[in-house]
């Protein structure tokens, strides 16, 4: 742990110097959204100050520069997740839009009445609702693989639910509510054995572990920039080129066309076929800057450091009487969801906030997970590479104090 340059990293994040209610900020709501390093902030300021114009349009200097930067960000993403080609990297508003894109294009083309879409019981609403909407439109059926009390997928049950009717498997790589990291290699292998495409929702996994889409052999991988130390409003759909080629466009408009007449329109090639209209240029560049920043630190180093943080936090949490951890999977990312005996998570959230500690209290956009564990909500401390053991000590002392005051 001593070798991880956490103090140097902290110095790069200006917001970490903020005081909240006159206390130093302890930001533990990273699973909701991460803070941004100066390098990302500067990249956006630089874009708007020196290199901004519309992309793929003009012959003038600024448009060429902006296009280079925007496409440069796409290349960085390609390398970051080890995609074969930039044609497989589609910019979206976030993971949610990426899933909706797949549902509305791949889904509408390939999924018919009576077909099945298989998800798990630990999905975020964004990997439930787009499929429910598709099922309503097409008459397809949504199947849900169950989880156990540790918050792990019951793999044998998942396998049983794969049938000849299954046309897509869409599962979360790492659960935002529980921290569970799913056995995605086994999931993909089981689906591939029946030639079923697999979408991985990587929104939560992407800042915590190295992702290699070719090694995984997933068909789609989606994530959001804002959980990867990049701006909000930008995200990525990775798709295998052959699948993307076969899919119809998502939205119509400028940039996604090659030739338009009133009789007929010829669509543009990948990736532009799925990027109608002027894209989120500056935030895509910001995402590229975030990837540069993370690559320099190394995703494996980040994963190792965060694992130590989680172990430390878990050990401390288990010493607190009346605290129950929700989500105790053997394979877990840096998320500590918990409930306290007779103290509602919302009270926990307000009380910790008065100490400068930001945690999430609520259902974490995963109401079915709350129902399964029979809790209305949980409090969730989620860690990032800039958090420290000292901050975990502050959190645990706060929890002990609020238990005392509630009596």
């Amino acid at each position: 742990m001593s070798t991880f340059p956490v103090e140097k990293i902290r110095a790069d994040f200006p917001i970490l110097k903020e005081k909240i209610r006159n206390k130093p900020l302890v930001y533990l709501d990273n699973a909701a959204s991460c803070q941004k390093p100066q390098q990302v902030i500067d990249s956006i300021v630089h874009c708007y100050s020196h290199e901004y114009a519309n992309v793929h349009r003009g012959v003038h200097t600024l448009s060429v520069k902006a296009t280079d930067r925007y496409e440069g960000a796409r290349e960085k993403i390609q390398h970051f997740i080890n995609a074969q080609s930039t044609k497989e990297i589609i910019f979206t508003r976030g993971a949610t839009e990426a899933i909706n894109l797949v549902a509305q294009t791949f889904g509408k083309t390939n999924i018919k009445a009576g077909d099945e879409i298989l998800i798990t019981a630990m999905e975020h609403h964004s990997n439930i609702v787009p499929w429910q909407m598709l099922c309503e439109e097409t008459g397809a059926v949504l199947k849900v693989a169950p989880i156990n009390l540790q918050g792990e997928l019951i793999f044998a049950e998942f396998e049983k639910l794969i049938s000849d009717k299954t046309k897509l498997v869409s599962v979360v790589h790492m659960s935002n509510a529980l921290g569970t990291v799913n056995p995605v290699k086994e999931i993909i292998a089981a689906a591939k054995a029946k030639n079923i495409p697999v979408l991985l929702d990587g929104a939560q996994a992407i800042p915590h572990l190295a992702v290699d889409v070719q090694a995984l052999d997933c068909d789609f991988y989606v994530f959001s920039g804002h959980k990867l130390y990049a701006p909000s409003g930008i995200g990525v759909l990775y798709g295998k080129q052959a699948l993307l080629e076969a899919m119809p466009p998502y939205q119509g408009g400028g940039d996604m066309i090659r030739k338009v007449t009133f009789e007929d329109t010829e669509y543009n090639g990948l990736p532009y076929k799925f990027e109608a209209g002027t894209p989120n240029i500056a935030d895509a560049i910001g995402l590229g800057a975030a990837i540069d920043y993370l690559t320099e630190i190394g995703m494996d180093n980040i994963a190792a450091y965060e694992a130590e943080l989680l172990d430390y936090a878990t050990e401390k949490a288990l010493q607190i009487d009346g605290l129950r951890i929700i989500g105790e999977a053997a394979e877990k990312g840096a998320i500590l969801s918990f409930v306290l005996d007779k103290i509602h998570p919302h009270d926990i959230g307000t009380m910790l906030d008065s100490l400068g500690i930001a945690v999430r209290a609520g259902h974490h956009c995963a109401m079915p997970v709350m129902d399964f564990f029979e809790v209305p909500a949980t409090a969730r401390a989620s860690f990032a590479m800039y958090n420290t053991k000292e901050e975990i000590d502050v959190l645990m002392a706060g929890i002990e104090d609020l238990i005392k005051i509630f009596g």
């Binding site: 209610r21 509602h344 998570p345 919302h346 009270d347 307000t350 008065s354 100490l355 209305p376 609020l402």
Partner: protein, 150 residues
């Protein structure tokens, strides 16, 4: 410890949270309405016994945070004996206390409910305090469907 929170979490609130008043299923209720705050998962069922337009008894079941539990506990106490119009008027005063302009606040008009005035400073928690009253409002209007603060 938690000095900043004393206005929000007064001892009366802890007391009602630990020992909620009128916390039972009223079998002979004339009105029964469910209230739900999807943001935090607070859920309550409000029971009313009516005599004409007068509330003769009130009780509740459910689970929620300390603020919402104290609020519904206090409310079921205070509305007993009130007419529908009086209860609605109290709701208006309560609403003004939690969300209205500073000059509209009349702490005397709300009596014991004044202990909840602290939520004004915590916009994220106002809905916790008002869920009980929105549910009562629905019950008085005889809306049987569940109500939601979202």
């Amino acid at each position: 410890m938690f000095d900043d929170l004393r206005d929000l979490y007064q001892e009366v609130i802890f007391d009602h949270n630990r020992n909620p008043r009128n916390f039972y299923v009223m079998e002979e209720a004339d009105r029964k309405v469910e209230g739900f705050n999807p943001l935090c998962g607070d859920r309550l069922t409000l029971f009313l016994k009516m005599d004409g337009d007068k509330i003769v008894d009130a009780s509740f079941q459910g689970s929620g945070c300390a603020i919402s539990t104290a609020s519904v506990s206090l409310m079921t106490d205070i509305v007993k004996g009130l007419t529908e119009a009086e209860a609605e008027a109290l709701f208006t005063k309560f609403h003004e206390m939690t969300t209205g302009k500073e000059e509209e606040i009349n702490l005397e008009a709300v009596g014991k409910l004044a202990v909840l005035a602290g939520v004004r400073e915590y916009p994220a928690r106002v809905k916790c305090a008002t869920l009980a009253w929105h549910t009562l409002d629905a019950a008085l209007k005889n809306e049987q469907a569940s109500i939601s603060t979202e």
